[in-house]
C-alpha cells in the first residue's frame, strides 16, 4: 500500500470514528474501562519517567548554569523545561509505547479471531464501541498524565537540587514559577491532547486493519508504536512553532 493510500484510509477511518462517537448508544462503561486502562495504569511509568527527567535536568544544567554564573536560574530552567517540552513529549512517547502497542495488539487479535466481524453481525458499530472509546480515552488521559509527569519531575528536580544546595520546596517553586504565565502552561498541556488523538487514531487504525494471523498482530502492535511515536515527534515540531506564534510568552 502506498504512502498516500495509507493516509487516505487513515483519514476515512478517522471520519468514521468521529461520526460514530456522536449519538446514542453512549458506551460510558467501556469509556471508563479504557480511561482506567490507558490512564491509571500508565500513571506509575509516566510519573517515574517524569521524575527521572527532573533529576537529570537538575544534574545536567546545574554545572552549566554555575559556569555562567546563573545558578539561581536552576529552578526556572527545570520547571520551564519540564512543563513546556520534556513533560509532554516524554509522556506522549511513553504512552505511545505502552498504550499504542496494547491497542494495536488487542484490536489486531480481535480482527484476526473474527471478534470485530461478530460485533458487526450483532449490529454493533465497532468504530463506536472499540475505536471511539479508545481515542476519547487517549484524548482525555494524555493531559492528565502529562500533569503527573510534570509534577513528579518538578518534585524530584527539587530533591536533586536541594541535596547539593539546600532550599525549601516553596522557594524552589517560587523561583521556578515567578515569571511563568498561563501561556506557558496551557498550550503545552493542550498539545498532549493532540498526542492522545494521534496515539488513539493511529493505533486503532493499525489494529482494526490487521491481516495475516498472529504475525499480523505482531506487525500491528509494532507499527502502532512506531507510527504514533513518529507522528508525535513531527506534531511536536509543528505545534511548538504554532504555540510560539499564537500564544507568545
Amino acid at each position: 500500500m502506498s504512502f498516500f493510500e495509507w493516509f487516505g484510509e487513515l483519514g476515512l477511518f478517522c471520519g468514521q470514528v468521529v461520526r460514530a462517537a456522536f449519538g446514542a448508544p453512549w458506551e460510558g462503561r467501556e469509556l471508563v474501562r479504557q480511561m482506567d486502562s490507558i490512564g491509571s495504569k500508565s500513571f506509575p511509568l509516566v510519573a517515574l519517567a517524569g521524575a527521572a527527567t527532573g533529576v537529570v535536568l537538575s544534574l545536567q544544567t546545574r554545572e552549566s548554569l554555575t559556569r555562567f554564573g546563573a545558578k539561581a536560574m536552576l529552578p526556572a530552567v527545570i520547571v520551564f523545561s519540564l512543563i513546556k517540552e520534556s513533560g509532554p513529549v516524554i509522556t506522549g512517547l511513553i504512552v505511545s509505547g505502552r498504550v499504542g502497542a496494547g491497542i494495536g495488539a488487542e484490536l489486531g487479535s480481535m480482527r484476526v479471531t473474527e471478534q470485530i466481524d461478530a460485533m458487526e453481525v450483532s449490529a454493533v458499530n465497532p468504530y463506536k464501541f472499540l475505536a471511539s472509546t479508545r481515542v476519547l480515552a487517549c484524548l482525555l488521559m494524555l493531559p492528565l498524565l502529562t500533569l503527573a509527569a510534570d509534577a513528579s519531575g518538578i518534585f524530584l528536580g527539587w530533591i536533586s537540587t536541594t541535596l547539593s544546595h539546600p532550599m525549601t520546596l516553596r522557594l524552589f517553586l517560587h523561583n521556578g514559577l515567578r515569571d511563568a504565565t498561563l501561556n506557558d502552561f496551557l498550550p503545552p498541556i493542550c498539545k498532549t491532547a493532540v498526542f492522545g488523538l494521534i496515539i488513539g487514531f493511529v493505533s486503532c487504525f493499525q489494529g482494526m486493519r490487521t491481516r495475516g494471523g498472529t504475525e499480523g498482530v505482531g506487525r500491528s502492535a509494532t507499527s502502532s508504536v512506531v507510527l504514533s511515536s513518529l507522528f508525535i515527534i513531527l506534531a511536536d515540531v509543528i505545534l511548538v512553532r504554532f504555540i510560539q506564534v499564537v500564544f507568545p510568552s
Partner: protein
C-alpha cells in the same frame, strides 16, 4: 421499502441470485444461486477455499459481492445503508468458525452484549434471558468464566447462545463442528436439530463434514470453483453420477 419488507413476509427468507465475488485475480464465487425456505436447513459443502465462508459473510454484509443479489425476507441488502443493514442483521444469528467470543467479557456478558444494545430489557431481565439461553445449551454452570477458560465445544455453545440472543429467524453456521472431537461435533449437530424444531429457524450451515451434516440437513449444496455443482437431498447426492460429487462423497467417507 416498507412494501418490499411486507411482501417479504410471504417470500423465502433467504434468496441469493447470480452471486460473484473475486479477490484480486482469484474468482471465489462464480454465479451462485441459492434459496432457502422458512424453517429449512441447507448445508453448503465444498473443499477448502471454494468460497463457502465468503458466501456466509456476503449474506450478512461483512463483504460486498462484485455482482448478484442477496435478498433477506425479500429485501435486497445490496443497496442498504448501515442503519438499514443493521436492522436486517438483528434478524440473523451467526456462529463463527472459532466462535469469536469477546475475550474481555465473561460467558454471560458475551450473550448479554447484543441485548444491552438492542433491547430495552432491564439488567435483571437481560441477565435472566442470557442465563436461560445458556442453560438451554447446557452452559448454566460456566456463566462467569472467561472464554479462554472453556473448551472449544463450550465456546461454540456460547457463540450459539449469543447468536440466538436477539431471537433471529435466520441462523448461519460457519464450520460449526470443525476442530471438535466426534462426540462434541455430534452434540452440536443435535443442537442444530433441536433449535430447528423449537424455533423453526431458517439455517445455512457451511461445512466440509458431509456425514455429520446428514443429521440436520434438509438440502445439501455442493460448491466447486465458485459454482453450485449439485443442490438436493443427501440421497440425491449419493445417486448423482457427477464424478466430482462421487469423488467428494468418497473422500469424505
Amino acid at each position: 421499502m416498507a412494501e418490499q419488507a411486507k411482501n417479504g413476509k410471504n417470500q423465502e427468507p433467504l434468496v441469493v441470485g447470480r452471486l460473484h465475488k473475486s479477490f484480486g485475480s482469484q474468482k471465489v464465487l462464480n454465479g451462485v444461486d441459492l434459496s432457502v425456505a422458512r424453517g429449512e436447513t441447507v448445508v453448503v459443502l465444498g473443499r477448502s477455499g471454494t468460497g463457502k465462508s465468503v458466501l456466509l459473510k456476503l449474506l450478512v454484509g461483512l463483504q460486498q459481492p462484485d455482482s448478484g443479489s442477496i435478498r433477506i425476507h425479500g429485501q435486497d441488502i445490496g443497496g442498504l445503508g448501515m442503519d438499514q443493514l443493521n436492522e436486517v442483521r438483528k434478524k440473523i444469528g451467526f456462529l463463527f468458525q472459532q466462535a469469536a467470543l469477546y475475550d474481555s467479557l465473561t460467558v454471560e456478558q458475551n450473550v448479554e452484549f447484543p441485548l444491552v444494545r438492542h433491547t430495552t430489557l432491564s439488567d435483571a431481565e437481560r441477565g435472566k434471558k442470557a442465563r436461560d439461553l445458556l442453560a438451554s445449551l447446557g452452559m448454566e454452570k460456566d456463566l462467569n468464566k472467561m472464554p479462554s477458560d472453556i473448551s472449544g465445544g463450550m465456546q461454540k455453545r456460547v457463540g450459539l447462545a449469543r447468536a440466538l440472543a436477539l431471537d433471529p429467524d435466520i441462523l448461519l453456521f460457519d464450520e460449526p463442528t470443525s476442530g471438535l472431537d466426534p462426540i462434541t461435533a455430534a452434540e452440536i449437530g443435535q443442537l442444530i436439530v433441536k433449535l430447528k424444531k423449537e424455533r423453526n429457524l431458517t439455517s445455512v450451515v457451511v461445512t466440509h463434514d458431509v456425514h455429520g451434516a446428514k443429521s440436520f440437513a434438509d438440502r445439501m449444496v455442493l460448491l466447486r470453483d465458485g459454482k453450485v455443482v449439485i443442490d438436493g437431498t443427501f440421497v440425491q447426492l449419493e445417486k448423482s453420477p457427477d464424478p466430482f460429487v462421487v469423488q467428494f462423497l468418497k473422500d469424505a467417507a
